[in-house]
């Protein structure tokens, strides 16, 4: 039975939601790992959750990347362990160089929280293998700095190596301007690293685990990682 670790930074607030999704809905052994820890202990997968680590005061995730636990997370990732960074977690993975690129303020300069459609473009990662082909995921976003940026060369590499995992699309699956909630280049909503074991995504799959709350499409992400063991 795999064990999952959910990292807790001062200011994380989606850590409980990720824990609830894994432990109570997927029935997986899960525990919190405080940011001051330098050893992850026995763990098979890591979630770097959403929230406002250190208040997101300088840049989202800028300070969290220096927490002691992040060195352990990078070592775990280097050894091929599955790591997913959700929203603030994605920003922390970018700031720590585990994923390429950076996040700018949303183009309309406002925090935005709503359901969006996602098109999956990479099925060969530990977090997308169980997502059914040619179906759109209906998953909420909630962020103020999700405007993904990468320079030309990085962007080209992401496209060539098929490292773009999710794109914002409209109900018909087209990556239009209106369907892009923050102005991210190429409607990019999620990417993976070259080794394909680290995924970062701005939308919150842990908030789409029950139809009672609006959508259960987020379960595919967690089903994928469980199948990867």
């Amino acid at each position: 039975m795999p064990t999952f670790g959910v990292i807790v930074f001062p200011g994380s607030n989606c850590d409980h939601d990720a824990y609830h999704a894994l432990k109570h809905i997927m029935g997986v052994d899960t525990r919190f790992i405080f940011h001051k820890e330098t050893d992850l202990g026995k763990v098979d997968g890591i979630v770097v959750p959403g929230g406002f680590s250190y208040g997101d005061y300088l840049r989202s995730g800028a300070i969290a990347r220096f927490s002691p636990v992040m060195q352990a997370v990078s070592d775990f990732a280097a050894k091929g362990g599955p790591v997913i960074g959700i929203c603030n977690g994605f920003q922390i993975l970018l700031e720590s160089g585990l994923l390429p690129g950076a996040m700018l303020h949303n183009e309309q300069l406002r925090f935005t929280c709503k359901q969006v459609y996602l098109k999956t473009e990479a099925f060969d990662t530990p977090f997308t293998s169980a997502i059914p082909k040619d179906t759109l995921l209906h998953i909420p976003v909630a962020h103020g700095e999700g405007n993904y940026y990468a320079d030309e060369t990085t962007l080209a590499q992401l496209e060539d190596q098929n490292q773009i995992v999710f794109r914002y699309v409209d109900a018909d699956g087209n990556p239009t301007r209106e369907s892009n909630p923050n102005g991210a280049v190429g409607n990019i909503a999620g990417i993976c690293n070259a080794a394909r074991n680290v995924v970062g995504m701005m939308p919150h799959p842990e908030r789409a685990m029950e139809t009672l709350l609006g959508s259960a499409d987020g379960k595919y992400v967690f089903e994928s990682v469980l199948q990867s063991f």
Partner: protein, 83 residues
């Protein structure tokens, strides 16, 4: 053409959570020599004005009306002629 460089800063007595968080992070990185950090806005205005005084006035009014929040912020303008 003139370039106005404007520094907008929180008044001294006002709490600066951003600066505090950055100072504590830098201390954790070992830079204990850093006594304080304050974070404000650096604004570049490119003004097509006839004279320096006119450019200076446009920059100052822009700060008073929009770029600085008089209730809690001060601003300093440095003007340079560009071409």
């Amino acid at each position: 053409m003139f370039k106005a460089e404007i520094n907008v800063t929180l008044r001294k007595s006002i709490l600066d959570p951003k600066g505090k968080a950055a100072r504590e992070a830098l201390h954790q990185l070992g830079y204990h020599a850093i006594q304080d950090v304050r974070i404000g806005k650096y604004i570049e205005l490119f003004v097509d004005a006839a004279s320096e005084t006119e450019a200076e006035q446009i920059a100052r009014e822009s700060c008073e009306k929009l770029l600085a929040n008089e209730v809690m912020e001060d601003f300093v303008i440095t003007l340079t002629k560009t071409n």
